[in-house]
Symmetry: C2
Subunit: 184 residues, 2 copies
DNA sequence: GATAATAGGGAATGGTTGTTCCCGAATCAA
DNA sequence: TTGATTCGGGAACAACCATTCCCTATTATC
């Protein structure tokens, strides 16, 4: 089931919600129409399930990228680098289902908007935690405004997905090098 | 005609491309179906015209916001502030047609993708110009990497539109205050 | 003033969409 | 073996979509 859901994630990322037909989903998930409707109430339910699946996978990727750093500052740097990498190339072109949900559905579907908000807030809380860790271990100055910096970094990460989907190239080291000035 | 196009812009911003039907457009533009198809070849042509209209209006707003600053650094600050304001409240909830086009259509429609890219590059060039002005007038240090900083700022502005559409509140002064560290 | 040309309005149309319904195969119980 | 139940598959359906076509005013031309 997770493997079928992973395929649904890919389609929703690439084509968004409205441009994805049930036919696109059955083709990708290798299920017949009836089977999809046996497993999910309707198209929105498939999307929500794909959304949660995507969020879980990306969350693990982001956390394990951050874990590669030896202090708060380095963990933040690895997290940002990971975001740039995922915003680029074939995966960047495919796109992010959270950004897609925010842009395409948050004005139309309160349920999706709630999930998008929850996801953004989870990410922001995680970033804020990393900043605080850095302040505790001395790698980030204590005068850095935690909440404002975290929110700006959320803007940066979401913006990279937009720019990456538009296929503008992003140089990870250079971009993150500049972004780290926010921790000065 | 521009007033009808402005109304089309609002609908496309709010609902995106695929969720906007011809019926939505005729209702908003106060034109009959046949009249829309007399003025435009098809739905994509309406979208492209709305896109260009939006880009022109926003461009003027951004430039005149920047012009309020007395040096390069201040012009950059006013530009970012303007972006935060437009990403918030009722306009933020409505959304940005460039971000919408990038996320919803850049994988499906090469023509839209080209326009999105052109728009992003125009904005990036403008920001890079402001940075150079600041370096020339002494308000921005010469060691600031112009191109990388400009690209990161594009990510910030596009990201703010995503976050604003999801209805997370953005505090202009605080957020821009942090972002200005990128010019240190 | 008569006629041609244009512009706008809206009904008709063919295709596609999301969803439901029903059928056949396979699994399990007795 | 028989009967009941579940499960996947796909045809059928109603609604909606983008687009076309045609009709009616209005304007312009002579």
């Amino acid at each position: 089931m997770d493997t079928a859901l992973d395929r649904a994630v890919r389609v929703f990322c690439e084509r968004g919600y409205h441009a994805t037909s049930i036919g696109d989903l059955t083709a990708a998930m290798q299920l017949a129409t009836g089977s999809v409707y046996k497993a999910f109430r309707d198209k929105q339910a498939v999307f929500l399930a794909a959304f949660e699946r995507y969020a879980t996978v990306r969350r693990d990727q982001t956390r394990s990228a951050a874990a590669r750093g030896g202090n708060g500052r380095e963990r933040l740097r690895h997290m940002l680098l990971s975001y740039v990498e995922h915003s680029q190339g074939v995966e960047g072109r495919r796109g992010c289902i959270v950004v897609g949900g925010a842009v395409e559905l948050s004005a139309l579907d309160p349920e999706v908007r709630a999930r998008v908000n929850a996801q953004l807030e989870t990410n922001e809380t995680f970033i804020a935690g990393l900043i605080r860790e850095g302040q505790a271990d001395g790698s980030i100055p204590g005068h850095v405004e935690v909440d404002d910096t975290a929110r700006l970094m959320i803007c940066i990460t979401q913006g990279m997905r937009v720019v990456g989907k538009a296929r503008l190239p992003l140089d990870g080291e250079r971009l993150v090098g500049v972004a780290m000035k926010l921790l000065a």
